[in-house]
């Protein structure tokens, strides 16, 4: 179960170090869980220190252990697994196996400060001295199959998926825009969100084209911030002075080829596997879900998750979100209630988990789903060949 959550300041160019932010989030989560640092005996993070481009990784688990002087029975950090939330999956498994009782899990980004004002960067270009007379290194491994063709970013790779979806199912840009517009509408109610000004369909279409069909407002917003949570043994629940989030099920399957362009069905990608897997691990059904926090690193990804999780049929996410009423805060399936990564900021998967827990606890303030107690929340992370899902339930 998730016994506590915490978040640092979140914003554009905070100018604070990743470890500093991580300490804020971690102390908040530990206090929220009703424990002390001395009781934390597990530590997990995604993606681990030193991975990815500038500001992507956050501090590695040894740095956080050192900073908080944790005495650990179990620890883990890594980028391979069922998306960003793989760190949470690992923590759940460690607690379930009895290796730890309270695992601190965190994800920290400082992409806003460290990417500077140069705009969105592609893999292989960021921090490599491009434009300063430097030469990019030669590309080996799987990236040699896309980056030499000037397909530098997940924006390009996932745009190819979206285009195929549009082609096969008649999905329209106006439909996809509702993901971004819905996110902005909810962000307006979230004081932590980085983009809160209202956005119209005209605003959306006026944003510059990145790579068809993705406009700028289809791409998430790099921020600085840290999110932490504590995964505890279920026996700890009575010690916590607020409802906790039970991990009812995990979806971690990956059955297609783990590749951005070789996966068999480009219109679904790995979400199909993780989504289907999730429902094999629970007695709950999509109709039981009160709120959905679905990864929107690019708007299209939230659509693939709606399909993969069975909220609509394959290829039907466009009509499902058309007009935006169904996914609005008061709609039948409130989606990305904090503003998603598109408007609340790219906390890289963990923002969705944090928000799901707040909604289950009834602590989401002005953006709390109205008119019902949120009993069941679904959270999904990842896109392309990377996908993980969790079903969380409220335990008062």
């Amino acid at each position: 179960m998730i016994s506590g959550i915490g978040q640092s300041a979140v914003g554009r160019r905070l100018g604070r170090g990743g470890l500093d932010l991580t300490i804020d989030a971690s102390l908040a989560a530990v206090a929220d869980a009703g424990i002390t640092l001395a009781e934390v005996d597990g530590l997990a993070t995604y993606p681990g220190g030193g991975m990815g481009g500038p500001g992507f990784a956050g501090p590695g688990s040894p740095e956080v252990q050192e900073a908080l002087r944790l005495k650990l029975n179990w620890h883990s950090g890594g980028i391979e697994g069922a998306a960003q939330m793989a760190a949470v999956h690992n923590a759940v498994l460690a607690v379930g196996a009895g290796l730890a009782r309270h695992v601190l899990v965190y994800r920290t980004v400082t992409e806003s400060s460290e990417q500077g004002t140069g705009g969105r960067q592609g893999i292989g270009m960021g921090g490599l001295g491009m434009g300063g007379g430097g030469k990019a290194p030669k590309m080996g491994g799987s990236f040699q199959w896309n980056i030499p063709f000037r397909a530098y970013s997940a924006a390009n790779w996932l745009a190819l998926n979206a285009q195929r979806h549009f082609h096969e199912f008649g999905t329209t840009p106006e439909q996809m825009a509702m993901i971004a517009i819905n996110a902005r509408r909810n962000a307006g109610l979230n004081p932590q969100a980085v983009y809160r000004d209202p956005m119209t369909l005209d605003d959306y279409f006026a944003s510059r084209m990145i790579t068809t069909p993705f406009h700028l407002f289809d791409c998430d917003a790099p921020v600085d911030g840290s999110t932490a949570l504590v995964v505890s043994a279920v026996g700890h629940a009575p010690n916590v002075d607020h409802p906790v989030a039970r991990v009812d099920a995990i979806g971690s399957a990956l059955r297609g080829r783990p590749s951005w362009d070789q996966y068999d069905d480009l219109t679904t990608m790995a979400a199909r596997d993780a989504g289907a897997h999730l429902w094999t691990r629970t007695d709950l059904t999509p109709a039981d879900v009160d709120v959905a926090e679905l990864y929107d690193g690019f708007s299209f990804l939230a659509m693939t998750w709606l399909e993969a999780l069975g909220f609509c049929g394959k290829g039907e996410s466009g009509p499902f979100i058309e007009g935006g009423e169904r996914i609005a805060l008061a709609g039948e399936l409130p989606l990305n209630t904090h503003g998603g990564q598109l408007s609340a900021g790219r906390l890289h998967g963990f923002g969705f988990i944090h928000e799901a827990v707040l909604q289950l606890r009834g602590e989401a303030g002005a953006r709390q789903v109205p008119g019902k107690t949120v009993e069941v929340a679904v959270v999904a992370n990842g896109g392309g060949p990377i996908a993980g899902a969790m079903l969380l339930t409220r335990e008062a």
Partner: protein, 138 residues
């Protein structure tokens, strides 16, 4: 050749050299299982279909069809935009496909289903397999 765009180069090794240098002879080559005929891309040391280790590069026709395409407008590398990034599928095998660029026509004219054929852009010893519309180059 002053018009060549900047490209990140692949790092050549014994596993991928056949692919990135075949363009010198005007060929698009993929690894093919010599036991069951399955094309493997990206390259692997073992055929995942039949388990054979007898895999060797073979040229394909170079004809293909655009399976998906995006027109990139964002400046990632300081080069010229817009340009078309496409996944091209090949008639030799249903799941044989690769990411590349379609050149030789305005990028916004590239569409899913368009018939294309391979062409090569040489950067030193590397020959990038790119694609042009069949009609435009015939």
């Amino acid at each position: 050749m002053a018009d060549l765009p900047f490209r990140v180069l692949p790092r050549l090794d014994d596993e991928n050299r056949f692919f990135w240098t075949a363009g010198e002879r005007g060929e698009l080559r993929f690894l093919r299982c010599q036991a069951c005929g399955y094309y493997l891309h990206p390259p692997l040391p073992r055929c995942p279909e039949c388990g054979s280790r007898e895999v060797a590069p073979e040229a394909v026709s170079g004809l293909g069809e655009v399976y998906s395409v995006t027109v990139n407008h964002h400046s990632w590398d300081g080069g010229r935009e817009p340009y078309a990034i496409a996944i091209v599928g090949f008639p030799e095998q249903a799941d044989l496909r690769m990411t590349s660029n379609v050149i030789g026509c305005p990028p916004e004219q590239v569409c899913i289903g368009m018939a294309v054929q391979v062409t090569f852009e040489a950067h030193d010893d590397v020959f990038f397999p790119l694609f042009t519309p069949v009609a435009a180059s015939g």
